[in-house]
């Protein structure tokens, strides 16, 4: 099993005809993902390497029964694209685009929460999600993930996700699903959402979470873990040496007013029973120990 994405998922790419959309849709298809459609209002009726292009997500869903959308449109159009996807009938929207204003993200959260509570948004500004051996939606290099579980992985950072998948693969540990939730201030899906799904998933036996400075998502995850998780969790938090008040690359990665430090997050997670590695490599070794004890 895996969470939210598997070999039956049928994916439509919003922005398929753009450079990045085309490149990654084809790469995802080569991985084995069922890439069924793309959208572009001015190119309906055409196709990209055999993938039919529709004017809207609604049209694509009707013709292809797509149930997942992957969004590559430029930042100014993301808000409209996500609403279109939700109204069009998909239940999972994965937004890769970076540079989306926080106001648009907050608005989307409110809008979908009310009008389309069945729709899950992952991202924006994320690498997507991959259920190794089944499907890959987004920009993760599929070959660095070993299929089969028993670890579920959730991360706020793209390349650190790759690093973690690589550490696990080196140790011969497989992954059920790896979710990149993105580095923005208001992500559509939180650590807690992913932890809850992994707790429910029978094939996931342990979870690795990769956080970073800024906000309180890791602290909320710690509270959830302490209260609801029966499966072991290993964590790594980036930015222990980050200076306050500086945005470290990601829009959400900033220590402000003494809040959101890595030290506080590590302490809170530790108190919730999470084993926290000091480096990605150490987190990998901790996971090896956890898996050996399962």
């Amino acid at each position: 099993m895996s969470i939210w994405l598997d070999e039956r998922s049928r994916v439509v790419y919003q922005g398929l005809t753009g450079r990045a959309g085309r490149f990654h849709a084809l790469r995802n298809r080569a991985y084995g993902t069922r890439v069924v459609a793309g959208t572009n209002p001015s190119k309906a009726g055409t196709s990209v390497e055999g993938i039919p292009v529709f004017a809207t997500v609604g049209d694509a869903v009707e013709a292809t029964r797509a149930d997942v959308s992957c969004v590559f449109v430029p930042a100014p159009y993301v808000r409209g694209a996500v609403v279109e996807a939700a109204e069009g009938g998909v239940t999972l929207v994965v937004v890769i685009t970076e540079g989306v204003p926080a106001k648009d993200e907050a608005w989307l959260g409110g809008k979908l929460g009310r009008d389309h509570p069945e729709v899950r948004v992952i991202g924006p500004n994320c690498p997507g999600l991959i259920s190794p051996g089944k499907a890959n939606v987004g920009i993760t290099a599929g070959d660095i993930a070993l299929p089969g579980g028993p670890v579920g992985l959730v991360s706020r950072s793209g390349t650190l996700t790759y690093q973690a998948l690589y550490e696990l693969k080196q140790a011969g540990i497989g992954v059920t699903t790896c979710v990149g939730i993105g580095g923005d201030p208001v992500p559509g899906t939180s650590f807690t959402d992913c932890l809850a799904a992994f707790e429910e998933d029978p094939e996931t036996s342990a979870v690795m979470m990769i956080g970073e400075i800024g906000g309180s998502a890791e602290e909320e995850a710690a509270a959830f873990i302490a209260e609801h998780m029966t499966k072991p969790v290993v964590a790594y938090i980036a930015g222990i040496t980050a200076p306050p008040g500086k945005k470290m690359g990601h829009a959400g990665a900033i220590v402000s007013g003494g809040k959101g430090t890595a030290a506080a997050k590590i302490e809170t997670l530790g108190a919730a029973g999470v084993r926290v590695g000091e480096s990605p490599a150490e987190a990998g070794s901790l996971m090896v120990e956890v898996v050996a004890d399962l």
Binding site: P76, W107, T159, H250
Partner: protein
């Protein structure tokens, strides 16, 4: 993007908020001229991107031209928490009857907006939140629903602000909310928001942080970019479009992706060293980006070793290798490079670099191994 007080007031002014008349001066004669035009008394205020100006002597009341000159003379060039004062705001002084606090910010975990209002303004609000949390009235706003007049009226009552000024306060708070939302701000804060002795509401200070991601909606914000506090290294990296933060150590860091770059800085510290910088060349970096990154790091005189930590995802190993090789042709290196390369096409990349390996270009086979090697070199250099 953080605005200076005078920029924040100009920003507020666009949404109708009542700011006192004032202008910016970079020298003493300019300050006097503005004060003469406004009429006395005036306040002369240091314009820096840091709090605590008052305590540092960066805000002075002046009754006449002589006092303005003396105030401007002492404040201009002053160092406040490491920031040099380059200009002052000269503003008509207001007679203060009461000082309030008002702000809107993003409540990240709830995906909502958080408004805070207090009758205890003019002091550090964090301290008030600690000592007297009950004096801060909070309001959460649904981004889709927005904020209505009657809610704001209730909010003003909950904060126990002066009832006689309620109408004007409600209007100002609605304008502040509009500035926050329509202006795509991450934070709008007025501390203090004052009541004058003749019962009017005035914005006495302005702290505004704008969302960098909203520039496509507000092209005019690019003007604020020039006044962001950056050291020389940060300014040159910014001009080249690189995500760079200057730090105090001796190991120059280049990585792809914000998380990996942050983590690399941490791992250098764990190896007993200190990074000179955070630098993320991005997920889709090309040959030119790598060359630009190396140039910026190489220009930093404190750098004694360079650690390039790349995990190929979209960016492929051979592109990274080509970037480094090209950069070596274009840039005269002053510090040796330790390269760690994994991920997509890493083998091809390593093979390309192999013939060029020397005392100035070394390979590491892991992130922690590379950090340790770079720290060792930096320590011995």
């Amino acid at each position: 993007m953080d605005l200076l007080e005078h920029q924040g007031k100009e920003f507020f002014g666009r949404y109708g908020l009542p700011v006192s008349p004032g202008f910016v001066a970079r020298g003493v004669p300019g300050a006097r001229e503005i004060a003469d035009r406004l009429g006395y008394p005036v306040v002369v205020k240091a314009q820096v991107h840091i709090g605590g100006r008052g305590k540092a002597g960066g805000i002075r009341l002046a009754q006449d031209a002589e006092e303005v000159a003396a105030a401007a003379e002492s404040i201009l060039g002053m160092d406040i928490g490491g920031h040099t004062v380059g200009c002052v705001l000269v503003e008509a002084a207001a007679r203060i009857a009461a000082e309030y606090y008002a702000s809107f910010t993003l409540d990240r975990s709830g995906g909502r907006y958080l408004g805070m209002l207090s009758a205890r303004g003019g002091v550090d609000i964090e301290a008030v939140a600690e000592s007297d949390p009950g004096s801060i009235a909070r309001i959460w706003v649904d981004p889709v629903e927005g904020l209505g007049e009657s809610e704001v009226r209730g909010w003003v009552r909950a904060a126990r602000l002066d009832e006689t000024a309620a109408d004007e306060l409600v209007e100002v708070l609605l304008q502040l909310y509009q500035a926050f939302v329509d202006g795509d701000a991450d934070l709008v804060e007025i501390n203090p928001l004052i009541l004058t002795t003749d019962g009017r509401v005035r914005v006495l200070d302005a702290k505004v942080t704008l969302d960098d991601n909203s520039l496509f909606r507000h092209p005019e914000y690019s003007a604020y970019d020039a006044t962001q506090p950056r050291d020389e290294r940060e300014a040159s990296a910014h001009a080249l479009g690189l995500q760079y933060v200057g730090l105090d150590g001796t190991v120059g860091v280049i990585a792809n992706g914000a998380g990996l770059a942050m983590s690399t800085v941490d791992v250098v510290a764990q190896a007993g060293g200190a990074a000179a910088n955070f630098l993320d060349i991005g997920g889709g970096a090309d040959v030119d980006t790598m060359a630009a990154a190396l140039r910026v790091i190489n220009n930093d005189p404190s750098v004694k070793a360079i650690f390039i930590n790349i995990f190929g995802g979209i960016v492929q190993g051979e592109v990274v290798a080509q970037g480094i090789l090209d950069a070596l042709d274009r840039v005269e290196l002053r510090a040796p490079i330790v390269l760690r390369l994994d991920g997509t096409n890493a083998d091809q990349g390593r093979a390309m670099v192999a013939p060029q390996l020397s005392e100035m270009l070394m390979m590491a086979d892991s992130m922690s191994g590379g950090a340790a090697r770079a720290v060792e070199i930096a320590g011995s250099g």
